[in-house]
């Protein structure tokens, strides 16, 4: 409401966040778990004086840097970049609450980068003790980054005591914090092992070495699985009621939850039967399938985590359509167009006749010509609804969802979207504005599909 709304045809701008976030998270967990893998295994290889394993680990460290320091780091920044333009009010709010959290994460991020480069580029030039210590320094810094950023993202799902207390710690130590740290730490262990299997399957030519890698990486992966289960249970138990309800009510989420369970169980079994019991199974095909399952599981999990947050971006603080939850009553009184900085400017510029003493007078909106009312309805749609819905066509397009709806049906849902679907934000405008939006929606709604019979035709 305070910022312009970025219009991205077909896709909607928040979907760009989802795309970049998914691309990032696939590597971000590896950046944490992979660091631990390198620290533990390098220490082991030095102790055993296992030169082949050390050579492999050096090769893996290079792969790790190329994936995490380049792709992982830039996509991480990319999420921040995208949320600023696609979800500015929520971003502004998060940054004002947690700027020192991000600043702390930055300190660990610097340590990650410096120690990662030293770990790789000074391989063989540092004495083993220092080298391993640098590896642990990376692993510790990376995990601390995970902890800090999880505090912030968990806050978005459950703001806990923050709406009452409004302090950094009330927000950071929210009910979702510990479960999500557990689950993400587990995810980091598990995903790192899958990356290791994939890399080793192609790069480790010696079967004995490959078996060693498979067997040793199975343990953190199994521990990771356990943490995921524990964290997942905690995550579910501490979900807000609306999120639990969304998980059960939305058919897409039902399917995704089943998919998540199926793929996760498959990964556990593959892990147990493959690398843990039969390390020799680690062929490129097996590793690739394993890796793909892991990616599917983590992508699905992230999608579910994001989706159950609706209708909020930050639970009980900022709604998906960039409105402070506490501002809804005021907007219903003065009007959405009046309350939004850019909508007010747009209306004042194009329709000065609806202003009364410098404020938008809602009854005057309905005195405008029909086409102008529809145009204003589009303004309302883009600013109030486009965060989740495309227009005529595209992602969750309302033009498709409203096929065959009568004007009264549309009007009722526009006035009370949160009653029709509890995961939709409430209407935050005047009745006159609801009428404008209704007119626009009816204009873009597709007709009811033809050829459907229910017996009346006979």
């Amino acid at each position: 409401m305070h910022y312009p709304w970025w219009y991205v045809p077909f896709l909607t701008s928040p979907m760009l966040i989802a795309i970049i976030a998914v691309l990032h998270v696939l590597v971000a967990h590896y950046a944490v778990g992979g660091g631990l893998f390198l620290a533990v295994e390098t220490q082991y290889a030095y102790r055993q004086n296992h030169r082949e394993y050390l050579a492999y680990l050096k090769e893996h460290a290079w792969f790790f840097i190329l994936i995490t320091v380049v792709y992982g780091a830039i996509t991480g920044v990319g999420i921040w970049w995208t949320i600023g333009v696609a979800s500015p009010l929520a971003t502004q709010t998060l940054i004002h609450i947690f700027v020192f959290g991000w600043a702390m994460e930055y300190v660990f991020f610097v340590l990650e980068i410096v120690s990662a480069f030293i770990f790789y580029y000074f391989w063989g030039r540092l004495d083993p003790k220092t080298h391993v210590r640098v590896g642990w320094m990376y692993a510790g810094s990376a995990w601390m980054s995970l902890v800090i950023i999880t505090g912030i993202t968990a806050f978005m799902l459950h703001s806990g005591r923050w709406p009452d207390e409004r302090t950094f710690w009330a927000g950071f130590l929210n009910p979702q914090f510990v479960p999500q740290v557990l689950a993400r730490t587990g995810g980091a262990f598990l995903l790192a092992s899958l990356y290791v299997y994939l890399h080793a399957a192609f790069k480790a030519k010696d079967p004995a070495l490959r078996d060693l890698i498979a067997a040793r990486s199975a343990r953190p992966a199994l521990l990771g699985s356990l943490l995921i289960v524990l964290g997942g249970i905690g995550w579910f138990l501490t979900l807000p009621e609306s999120a639990k309800a969304a998980l059960v009510a939305a058919s897409t989420l039902n399917i995704l939850v089943v998919l998540l369970f199926a793929v996760t169980i498959a990964v556990f079994f593959m892990l147990y039967l493959g690398p843990y019991r039969n390390p020799g199974w680690l062929s490129p095909g097996f590793a690739l399938l394993f890796f793909t399952f892991g990616l599917v599981a983590i992508t699905t999990g992230e999608y579910i985590r994001e989706a159950v947050r609706k209708p909020y971006i930050i639970y009980n603080v900022v709604l998906g359509n960039q409105i402070y939850a506490e501002k809804v009553p005021e907007l219903r009184r003065i009007g959405y167009l009046e309350g939004g900085t850019w909508t007010k400017a747009w209306v004042s510029h194009h329709y000065p006749q609806v202003l009364n003493d410098g404020r938008i007078d809602p009854p005057r909106l309905l005195m405008l010509p029909e086409e102008d009312q529809v145009k204003l309805g589009e303004v309302l749609f883009l600013h109030h609804c486009n965060d989740c819905h495309a227009g005529r066509r595209g992602f969750s397009a309302v033009g498709q969802l409203l096929r065959g709806w009568t004007p009264d049906m549309v009007r009722t849902v526009v006035k009370h979207p949160e009653k029709a679907h509890f995961f939709m934000p409430p209407w935050a405008g005047t009745p006159e504005e609801a009428e404008l939006l209704t007119k626009y929606l009816l204009r873009i709604a597709h007709p009811r599909p033809g050829g459907m019979r229910f017996g009346e035709e006979r």
Binding site: V8, Y106, V107, I113, T341, N386
Partner: protein, 378 residues
């Protein structure tokens, strides 16, 4: 349309620390960011030119410029986070609208940066596997990478000039939007300050690259020949001279040709006049030091003094830029007037971690120095 109507209300949360604290870290972060950023901004382009047209020694210099580039890019991105974070805290009212108006170019920076970063790795891998002259396709990637970084710089200049060019918002918005929602395709190309700012940063980047060449030759190139070091000093002087001339020309264009009256009035009187003068003349000091080394030969101490002078130049630029930014915005909003709701314990924890982090980095670098002296052939 009155552009101030497009600036939203203050956040009910207020600043988490006094404005001075936020802006200190913003300026400090920007100064640190500029050092590696300048090296990739013009260093890659210079390396490609030297590789293309240079002789044996200059190609060696090209290679020495490119080899540390992956690390420099990682550090540069990292150091860039701090100023951007504190910009979003203190300048949120103008930062978000400006970047939303140009959302597609702004978001494309991520893609360009990813491709450019991998491009650098591909080029550097060629230096390792193929020796002094990488394959032609790798060289082509090097050129594309250099172009991508220039484009990224152009988009940054757009975003940060548009942030203060609030007057241009209404036209850009009304021209490139659907029912009041921006398409995210606007650029600030009508702003007369954009071009000199972009070019001025390019010129300043040349001077930083020149200083890097000097520092590298004296501190890090101990195994290179005296002839190489002489070549490095000569190239550094040429690059620095070009940078200083470019900085003088584009700086004059920027100050005398584009500054609004109120900015000129503010920056040309009282103590600000001293700051403006020092900022304008500053690049001359490293240039003189490079000239001295070209004529009298380089030493580690001279190179260190040149580096110190360049950091000072960059800091002066960052401070002046910060003051100009606030003067440009003053007619639209006062960023220092926001309420402050102190977050004492997170702030103290951050400062403690910051100091501890510096300690850890110092320890790590100390270990490296010991290792290198123990095993110089490594």
């Amino acid at each position: 349309m009155d552009p101030t109507t497009l600036i939203g209300p203050s956040s009910p949360l207020g600043y988490p620390a006094p404005y001075g604290f936020l802006v200190f870290f913003k300026v400090l972060g920007f100064t640190l960011h500029m050092i590696p950023m300048h090296l990739w901004y013009t260093g890659i382009l210079l390396a490609m030119l030297l590789q293309w047209r240079g002789g044996e020694e200059t190609r060696r210099l090209s290679r020495r410029l490119m080899q540390p580039m992956p690390i420099l890019i990682a550090l540069g991105i990292n150091f860039g986070i701090v100023p951007l974070l504190f910009t979003q805290v203190a300048y949120y009212k103008v930062f978000y609208p400006a970047t939303i108006l140009m959302a597609w170019p702004w978001v494309s920076i991520i893609l360009l940066l990813t491709l450019a970063y991998y491009g650098v790795y591909i080029y550097v891998a060629g230096l390792r596997s193929e020796g002094a002259t990488p394959a032609r396709w790798r060289q082509a990637i090097g050129w594309v990478t250099a172009a991508f970084f220039l484009l990224i710089g152009f988009f940054f200049s757009n975003a940060f000039s548009l942030m203060t060019n609030v007057r241009a918002w209404p036209d850009l918005w009304l021209r490139e939007s659907v029912a009041g929602a921006p398409l995210g395709t606007a650029l600030n190309t009508d702003d007369p300050t954009l071009w000199p700012r972009w070019l001025m940063m390019f010129a300043l980047a040349l001077t930083t690259t020149a200083v890097f060449i000097i520092v590298d030759a004296e501190w890090l190139a101990s195994r290179e020949s005296a002839e190489y070091r002489a070549t490095a000093r000569r190239v550094a002087l040429t690059v620095s001279t070009l940078g200083v001339i470019g900085f003088a020309l584009t700086g004059s264009w920027y100050v005398f040709g584009t500054w609004p009256e109120e900015v000129r009035a503010e920056m040309m009187r009282g103590p600000m006049r001293v700051l403006t003068g020092l900022t304008a003349l500053g690049p001359g000091l490293p240039w003189l030091l490079i000239l001295w080394q070209w004529r009298r030969g380089g030493t580690r101490a001279r190179a260190a003094a040149t580096a110190l002078a360049q950091v000072l130049v960059l800091a002066l630029n960052a401070i002046s830029r910060q003051i100009v930014q606030n003067v440009e915005l003053r007619r639209f909003l006062d960023v220092t007037a926001e309420p402050v709701h102190m977050q004492w314990s997170p702030l103290i924890l951050f400062l403690l971690l910051f100091v501890a982090g510096l300690g850890v980095v110092a320890w790590l670098l100390g270990r490296l120095r010991t290792t290198q002296s123990v095993n110089p052939s490594g």
